[in-house]
């Protein structure tokens, strides 16, 4: 099961840590319990290094979170990832979403 820890920091930022299995089996729970009522400060730090497994539903959770942050005109930073996430991101060429700072740079063919 996935765990989400959301910490509101004093420096006007929110830290979100995902750990465990980020899959279809807990996507609904994460969404209902955490995402739906999430409060975001202008800066969001996302930590993913303890995610043990991710599937497409899990990835969608991250993507909708990124979208929401951007929509609220906030900034986000994926501060830590691991091989599980890296492999997925690489396979699907999602680097731009995970490193928003280089968003405008086209990935090389």
């Amino acid at each position: 099961m996935a765990k989400i820890k959301i910490t509101q920091k004093r420096n006007n930022s929110t830290e979100i840590t995902f750990s465990g299995e980020l899959t279809i089996f807990c996507a609904m729970e994460i969404y209902q319990e955490h995402l739906q009522k999430i409060k975001l400060k202008p800066k969001v730090i996302i930590k993913l290094s303890s995610v043990s497994e991710i599937d497409t539903a899990g990835m969608q959770i991250l993507l909708i979170l990124f979208k929401e942050i951007t929509k609220q005109s906030g900034e986000y930073e994926v501060s830590s990832i691991n091989d599980v996430i890296r492999d997925y991101v690489k396979l699907f060429n999602l680097e731009s979403c995970f490193s928003p700072s280089i968003k405008n740079i086209e990935p090389q063919l």
């Binding site: 279809i24 994460i30 979208k67």
Partner: protein, 750 residues
């Protein structure tokens, strides 16, 4: 469709493909070999691999991949399927079957199975290695030449497929992750580029975490054909928009794709450029061109899309062919869809209900007759007619041709013959004969035993056959046909036959009979069904342990059938398994003896005669029927029926020594016998209800049935009764002879 259900479909389909592989391999082994067959077998392996890949069953994929590879080469006439390869392929097929039966997790623990897989792959290597080597050298050479020539590059580019995936929203919910499709695609070649489109994501509030929002544009470099790539998405085709563009697709088609997709054109264009499907230049050019042509075409009559495509010849031949094939397939699928898989429990339930219907129909019939209302009686008659039709239709649902079961023996015979070093040909007759599904299942084991025995003990080795002046190829025949309301399965061989003397010796040895016992051939042959009986002088791993034939008999008897053996020394033997057509509802003949109801299965009845009109041979239950001696049984004697009080008084009134007056002549196999009863009540549909275990020991009764008036009728087990009648007769004869002898001896002293 949930994942479990889809997986279940995979297992069922895999099994079907494995069966088809087996039958094709057998055909090829017999020397027939054509392109269609090679295609068939390749397709089977390929589909198994493909579907397994979707479910992430990597152990199946990795093994099947190699097999498929070999088959592909055979299909391209690069290698020929010789005897050795076919043997290995048979084993590979079996291995695939065991792989399919294990989940990936279980497979990890099965070291033995893994070992088998490895050794099979090594065995296959003579046929694959070349391939891999050549491919490697091919790749090497491309690597070498690539930087030198642009042409090579162009060819490489050509192999790049473009796949546009807009999968169903429910895809994730149904347990299918696009990740697994993409991983499978990666196994077909190299994924050059994937673009994930996040455009469809809703706002957070509308987000459904179990919906799939991501869309994919994939550039895949692969030598696979369209069907292969299409099959990847077999399980998600419904509700999904999947566009697969082959490597040499014209730019216009990409433009069409862009037009048809929901995302914005500019963005899609960019993506396709990134995927390498288009260059920036060509994209711009064609977008402008298209705008122009559109303006032009608005002036012209609207053409059909197909026409446009053909005129522009934008559709490569491959795609058209694939589309045609696809249509053919869907036509096949349409004819397949006329068949539905039904849970057998549901069918059984239906049969049970129809049984109740039949009983109730009889009750109504009885009431109607009692009422004497002619129009009611007529209506009930019509009703009865329909009940009968419903019954027949329902029963036919359970019937399956025996051919499938017979087919499985081809393989068994082939392998066993090889193992024994014998040359055996299997002949199948009457594969279309239909049998209750339940019986087909329960017959598989008994048949296997008999077939094995015939091959091991019956058919001689090549040398022995030559010495006996027979053709070296032994014949084993499996036949199925109808006979007097029964199904006969005959297994015959042209081998040595059963050695009567040895059976006798062995039986005496085992203490089953003593040296004086006189037996008919049939009785003697039946000794082989005795538990622990074997005449084989050496025990092979096939048979000879004496375990099996007793089980065969028990299984067949459990199906209310019997086995007849005939054998001719030096000529061969025949085992005939005789089975009732169905077990659930039968046409019966309702008779009465001392107010007890009996049902005689109609199929066994030859005629009904008046017992008094025939000469009863004194002291013996035998009549002379047109010159034939027919033994008969009296129901009241066999079942110790005592007349009720009422009957007694009636009888006193009649003041006659009353006995059964009607005789029903029944036949079973070659034997005939009579059953003496008081009253014939006529035809009746009979729902067979099995008797409880307490009555198992009761000879002569096969089941019970409820009559329309609520009375219980016993269904007579004719084969057992005939056995009894004949047994009694021989017993009587013997006792008569001995008593005559005794009286002869005694008479002088008197």
């Amino acid at each position: 469709m949930s994942l479990d259900a889809a997986l279940q479909t995979f297992y069922v389909e895999a099994q079907e493909h494995l069966e088809s592989m087996e039958s094709v391999l057998l055909q090829i082994d017999e020397g027939e070999c054509n392109d269609d067959m090679l295609n068939d077998i390749f397709r089977s392996a390929h589909t198994i691999k493909g579907s397994a890949g979707i479910f992430g069953l990597d152990h199946i994929v990795s093994f099947t991949h190699v097999v498929e590879n070999v088959l592909d080469r055979a299909r391209d006439n690069e290698i020929t399927l010789d005897h050795d390869l076919i043997n290995i392929l048979f084993k590979c097929r079996d291995h695939m079957e065991s792989l399919v039966s294990f989940s990936l997790d279980d497979f990890q623990d099965e070291t033995e199975l893994q070992q088998t897989g490895k050794s099979l792959l090594i065995a296959l290597s003579p046929w694959t290695n070349e391939d891999l080597n050549s491919r490697e050298t091919e790749e090497d050479s491309t690597e070498l030449t690539q930087p030198l020539t642009n042409i090579q590059e162009a060819i490489d580019d050509k192999k790049c497929w473009h796949i546009s995936l807009r999968l169903s929203n429910d895809c994730l919910r149904n347990g299918m992750d696009p990740l697994s499709f993409i991983k499978f695609l990666a196994s077909l070649g190299e994924i050059k580029h994937i673009e994930c489109l996040t455009d469809n994501f809703p706002d957070l509030a509308d987000f459904d975490p179990e919906n799939l929002y991501l869309a994919y544009e994939i550039a895949l470099q692969s030598n696979a054909d369209l069907a292969t790539i299409e099959n990847t998405f077999m399980f998600v085709q419904d509700d999904s928009d999947i566009v697969i563009l082959p490597p040499d697709t014209k730019i216009d088609d990409y433009i069409n794709l862009i037009e048809n997709l929901p995302e914005s054109k500019e963005r899609l264009g960019e993506i396709l450029v990134r995927c390498g499907a288009l260059t920036q230049n060509s994209l711009e050019q064609s977008l402008t061109q298209q705008n122009q042509t559109r303006q032009n075409s608005e002036h012209e009559d609207k053409q059909l899309l197909g026409e446009v495509l053909t005129q522009q010849s934008t559709v490569p031949e491959k795609v058209v062919n694939a589309a045609l094939n696809k249509q053919k397939q869907s036509q096949n699928a349409a004819s397949e869809s006329k068949q539905i898989r039904v849970d057998s429990d549901r069918l059984d339930n239906l049969i049970n209900l129809i049984g109740e219907l039949v009983i109730n129909q009889q009750r109504i019939d009885l009431l109607a007759k009692k009422s004497g209302d002619p129009s009611l009686v007529e209506a009930v008659d019509d009703f009865e007619d329909f009940t009968e039709q419903i019954r027949d239709a329902a029963l036919s649902l359970r019937m399956v041709p025996i051919g499938g079961t017979f087919q499985k023996f081809k393989r068994l015979v082939r392998d066993t013959a090889q193992e024994l070093g014998k040359d055996i040909e299997l002949i199948i007759e009457g594969a279309d004969t239909e049998l209750d599904r339940l019986m087909v299942e329960k017959l598989a084991d008994p048949l296997t035993h008999i077939v094995r025995n015939a091959m091991d003990h019956g058919l001689e080795s090549i040398e022995q056959r030559q010495a006996a002046g027979k053709p070296t190829k032994g014949q084993l025949k499996l036949a199925a046909y109808h006979d007097a309301g029964h199904i006969i399965l005959a297994i015959s061989d042209d081998g040595n036959g059963i050695d009567k003397e040895r059976v006798r010796e062995k039986a005496i040895d085992k203490g089953i009979i003593n040296t004086e016992t006189v037996m008919t051939d049939n009785e003697l042959f039946h000794l082989i069904f005795h538990p622990g009986f074997s005449t084989a002088q050496e025990i092979t791993n096939l048979s000879g342990r004496g375990v099996g034939m007793d089980v065969v008999k028990r299984n067949v008897e459990a199906l209310q059938g019997n086995i007849e053996i005939s054998s001719e020394t030096g000529q061969g033997s025949t085992f005939k398994i005789r089975l009732p057509l169905t077990l659930a509802i039968i046409d019966g003949f309702h008779v009465e003896s001392h107010n007890t109801h009996f049902i005689i299965p109609q199929a066994t009845i030859i005629e009904c005669i008046d017992l008094d009109a025939h000469i009863d041979i004194e002291g013996r239950h035998c009549i002379n029927l047109r010159g034939d001696m027919i033994p008969y049984l009296n129901m009241e004697e066999i079942f110790n029926l005592t007349p009720s009080m009422k009957q007694e008084t009636n009888r006193d009134k009649e003041n006659s020594k009353r006995h059964s007056t009607e005789l029903v002549i029944v036949q079973f196999g070659g034997e005939m016998a009579g059953i003496a009863v008081d009253k014939l009540n006529g035809e009746i549909q009979t729902v067979v209800k099995p008797l409880g275990p307490i009555f198992k020991a009761l000879k002569g009764i096969g089941g019970s049935s409820l009559l329309g008036n609520g009375d219980i009728a016993f269904i007579l087990d004719v084969p057992q009764l005939i056995e009894l009648a004949i047994g009694d007769e021989t017993h009587l004869t013997k006792s008569l002879i001995s008593s005559n002898e005794n009286s002869n001896q005694n008479s002088p002293t008197e």
